[in-house]
C-alpha cells in the first residue's frame, strides 16, 4: 500500500523537475494560463455580484413612477441611486397614484441633497421596511431633520471623525454617531453648496444589508421640503405658496395584481404628467448593455486560454522531441509506456494547478480593485473577498485545457521506440 503511494508520488515529483528544467518556457506558459484564468475569474465575480446587486435592489419594485424622460435614467436614479433623476413630480399626482386601486404600495423618494457624496433620501418608513433593513443603533426618524445612516455612510462618517479632518471625538462605533449633526450639500455629487442652518441629526444607523440602503442617508420627506423651501423663500406667504407646490422626485410602486402590469403603466403614461418604468424591463436592457463588456472580457480570457493551451501543447511537443532519449532511457530502464506518458500529462497538470491558484488569486485581487473603483463612485458593491461555487469551474477548466494540450505529446511519449537508443551512437 505504501509502495503504491510512493509510486504515485514519484510521477508528480519527476514531472515537476522536468517542468522547471525549462524555466523560461514554463514561466511563459504559466503566465498565459494565469492571465486567461484570472480574466475568467474576474468576469465571473464581477458579473455575478452586479447581477445579484441589481436583483436584490429591484426586488419587489414593480414600477418606478417619476418625471417624464429616459425610463432607464429613472430606474438608475430611483432604485440604484447611480444616476440623477429626470425631474420631479407633483405631490398631488403622487397622492392620486397612491389612491389608485391597482396600487398596493407607493413609496415616495425625494432626492436633491447629499452628504459626503452619499445621497440624502427623503422617504417614509416604508422604504427601509421594503428592504427589511434593521437598525444597529438608535431608531428610525420620527421628525423632520432626523436622519438614519446606511452602513457604508456610517463607516465613512466614523472614519472622517477619526481622520485628520475630524472633530477629534472618539467615535465609539455606530452608537457613537447617534446625536451627531451634519449638513447636507446641494446636488447629488460632493462639492455642492452646503445648506447652512439646517443640520441633520443622526437618529439611527442601519445594519449592512448589502443593498442600496448601505449607501444612503434616509430621512423624512418633510426634511427635504424644509431645507429647500427655506432656501428659496423666507416670507411666510411665499412659503405657503411653495407648500402648495410641494414635489417629490419619484415613487416606487408595488401593484396589487399582475393585471395592473398591463393597464397601470399605460394609464400613467397617457393621462398624467408622469412616466412609469418597469425595472424588470429596463434592467434586462441594462444587463444586456453591460453584458457586452463582460462578453468582451470573457472572449479575451478565452483567447488567452486558447493561446496558452496551444503554447503548452507546443512546449510539451518540443519537450518530447528534446527528451526523446530521456524517455527512451526510462523505457529501457523498464518504465511501462503509460508511466512515461503520464509524466507528460502530469507536467501539464502541474501547470494547471499552479495557474489555477495564481489565476484565482489574481482574479480576486482584480475584482477587489474593481470593487474599490466602484466604491469610489458609490456604485454597486463588488468585492474580491467572496468565493462563488461557480469558481470551481476555473481549476476544472485549467485541468481540461492541460489534459487536452498534453494528450497528443503524451501519446507520442508512449510510442517512443526504445530500440532506437541502441542503434544511435
Amino acid at each position: 500500500m505504501s509502495a503504491a503511494i510512493l509510486r504515485a508520488g514519484s510521477v508528480p515529483r519527476l514531472a515537476w523537475r522536468y517542468l522547471w528544467s525549462r524555466p523560461l518556457t514554463s514561466a511563459l506558459n504559466l503566465l498565459l494560463l494565469t492571465l486567461g484564468l484570472a480574466a475568467v475569474t474576474l468576469v465571473l465575480l464581477v458579473a455575478t455580484q452586479v447581477d445579484r446587486g441589481f436583483e436584490r435592489d429591484v426586488q419587489g419594485i414593480d414600477l418606478v413612477v417619476g418625471a417624464k424622460g429616459s425610463p432607464l435614467q429613472l430606474i438608475l436614479a430611483g432604485v440604484f441611486h447611480i444616476d440623477v433623476p429626470p425631474g420631479n413630480i407633483a405631490l398631488e399626482d403622487f397622492e392620486a397614484l397612491r389612491r389608485n386601486p391597482l396600487v398596493a404600495q407607493a413609496i415616495p423618494i425625494s432626492l436633491g441633497d447629499s452628504f459626503a457624496g452619499y445621497r440624502i433620501v427623503g422617504t417614509t418608513h416604508e422604504y427601509p421596511a421594503h428592504y427589511g433593513a434593521e437598525l444597529v443603533a438608535g431608531r428610525l426618524w420620527n421628525a423632520p431633520m432626523e436622519a438614519v445612516l446606511g452602513a457604508s455612510v456610517a463607516v465613512a462618517m466614523q472614519r472622517a471623525a477619526r481622520g485628520p479632518g475630524g472633530d477629534g471625538h472618539p467615535a465609539a462605533g455606530a452608537q457613537g454617531l447617534l446625536g451627531r449633526t451634519f449638513f447636507g450639500t446641494h446636488g447629488l455629487a460632493p462639492g455642492g453648496e452646503e445648506h447652512g442652518g439646517h443640520p441633520y441629526r443622526v437618529a439611527g444607523v442601519l445594519a449592512a444589508c448589502g443593498c442600496v440602503l448601505d449607501r444612503l442617508v434616509l430621512t423624512a420627506t418633510e426634511s427635504v421640503w424644509q431645507v429647500h423651501e427655506s432656501a428659496q423663500a423666507d416670507d411666510p406667504d411665499d412659503l405657503a405658496v411653495l407648500r402648495q407646490e410641494r414635489e417629490i422626485t419619484l415613487a416606487l410602486v408595488r401593484w396589487r395584481s399582475p393585471l395592473a402590469a398591463v393597464t397601470l403603466p399605460r394609464a400613467i403614461n397617457a393621462t398624467t404628467p408622469m412616466q412609469a418604468a418597469a425595472p424588470a424591463v429596463e434592467i434586462t436592457r441594462l444587463v444586456r448593455l453591460l453584458g457586452v463588456g463582460a462578453d468582451v472580457l470573457r472572449a479575451f480570457g478565452g483567447v488567452l486560454l486558447g493561446v496558452a493551451g496551444l503554447n503548452v501543447f507546443i512546449a510539451l511537443w518540443n519537450a518530447v522531441r528534446e527528451r526523446r532519449a530521456d524517455l527512451a532511457m526510462l523505457r529501457m530502464l523498464g518504465a511501462p509506456p503509460v508511466r512515461v506518458g503520464s509524466l507528460l500529462l502530469c507536467e501539464a497538470l502541474w501547470l494547471a494547478v499552479l495557474a489555477s491558484v495564481l489565476g484565482l488569486a489574481v482574479g480576486h485581487l482584480l475584482a477587489e480593485g474593481v470593487g474599490r473603483l466602484l466604491a469610489g463612485q458609490n456604485a454597486m458593491p463588488v468585492t474580491g473577498a467572496l468565493w462563488l461555487p461557480g469558481e470551481w469551474a476555473v481549476p476544472g477548466l485549467a485541468a481540461v485545457l492541460a489534459f487536452a494540450s498534453a494528450i497528443l505529446p503524451a501519446v507520442q511519449a508512449c510510442r517512443v521506440d526504445v530500440a532506437e537508443l541502441l542503434g544511435r551512437p
Binding site: 509510486r7 514519484s10 532519449a325 527512451a328 530502464l333 537508443l421
Partner: protein
C-alpha cells in the same frame, strides 16, 4: 545466464539477420564483435526484450524471450526493470536532472520507492560521492560514464548490457572503464554482455577468463561463418 539457439531477426522489409548460438553461465561474459551494422544492436535489443526474434529461442536470466513460452510484451518492461542493467554508448543521462536524480530514475521506472541509501552506496562505490548534486554536463566523460554505470548496476541486475563502452574514451580511461565494468558485473554476479568493435575492449575482455566471443556480420545469414572465435576458455 544467456542461451540462444538459431536466433534470427527480420527487420521490417529488410534482410534477415541470423545469429550464432550462445551458451553463457550466470556471471559469464559475452563479447559481441563485428563492424557497424553487423547486428550488435539488434542482438542487444533481442536480449533486452525490446525486439522479438522471428526465429529461434532465446533465454536470458532464466526468462524465455523468444521461442515457446516467451514472455508477453506487456510483461517485459517489468522484467527488464528488475533483471537488466544497460549501459548505452551515448550514456543518455538526463540533462534536466542532477546525478542523484538520474540515479533515482531506475526506481521510478521499476515502480519502486526511491532508495536514497542505495544511491549513495553506489555513488560511493564508483567514487562519485562528490558529484551527487551536479548536472551531467558538469562532469567529465569518464565521470559521466561512471554515473551511467552506477545507474545500470543500481538494482543489482542479473544481466548487464554494455553498448560500445569505450568508444569515446582515451586508452587509460578505456582500461579503467572496462575494469570497472567487469568489477561491477562481478559484484552482482551479473552476466556481462559487451558489444564493441573497439580493439582495446576486445583485448581486455578476451584476457578475462571465461569470456565468450561472438563475431557478427562476417557472414550474415550463415551461422557457421560467425563462429565464436574466442571460444570458451574457462569454467
Amino acid at each position: 545466464m544467456i542461451r540462444s539457439r538459431a536466433l534470427a531477426f527480420a527487420h521490417a522489409g529488410g534482410a534477415t539477420l541470423r545469429f550464432p548460438d550462445a551458451d553463457l553461465p550466470q556471471g559469464g561474459c559475452l563479447l559481441l564483435r563485428g563492424p557497424s551494422g553487423s547486428g550488435k544492436s539488434t542482438w542487444l535489443a533481442l536480449a533486452a526484450g525490446l525486439r522479438t526474434a522471428t526465429e529461434g529461442t532465446l533465454v536470458v536470466a532464466g526468462q524465455t524471450l523468444a521461442g515457446p513460452g516467451a514472455l508477453p510484451r506487456a510483461a517485459r518492461d517489468g522484467w527488464r526493470a528488475r533483471h537488466l542493467g544497460f549501459l548505452p554508448q551515448a550514456l543518455h543521462l538526463s540533462p534536466a536532472l542532477s546525478v542523484a536524480e538520474n540515479l533515482a530514475l531506475p526506481f521510478f521506472a521499476a515502480g519502486l520507492p526511491r532508495d536514497d541509501r542505495a544511491i549513495a552506496d553506489v555513488l560511493g562505490r564508483l567514487d562519485l560521492g562528490a558529484f551527487a548534486g551536479r548536472r551531467p554536463h558538469e562532469l567529465s566523460g569518464g565521470q559521466a560514464q561512471r554515473v551511467a554505470l552506477a545507474r545500470a548496476v543500481l538494482l543489482s541486475p542479473c544481466v548487464l548490457l554494455a553498448d560500445e563502452p569505450t568508444a569515446s574514451l582515451d586508452d587509460g580511461a578505456a582500461q579503467a572503464a572496462l575494469a570497472l565494468l567487469m568489477a561491477c558485473a562481478a559484484d552482482c554476479t551479473a552476466t556481462l554482455v559487451v558489444a564493441t568493435h573497439d580493439r582495446r575492449a576486445v583485448q581486455a575482455l578476451e584476457a578475462r577468463p571465461g569470456t565468450v566471443s561472438m563475431l557478427l556480420g562476417a557472414g550474415a545469414g550463415d551461422p557457421r561463418g560467425a563462429a565464436g572465435s574466442g571460444g570458451r576458455s574457462g569454467p
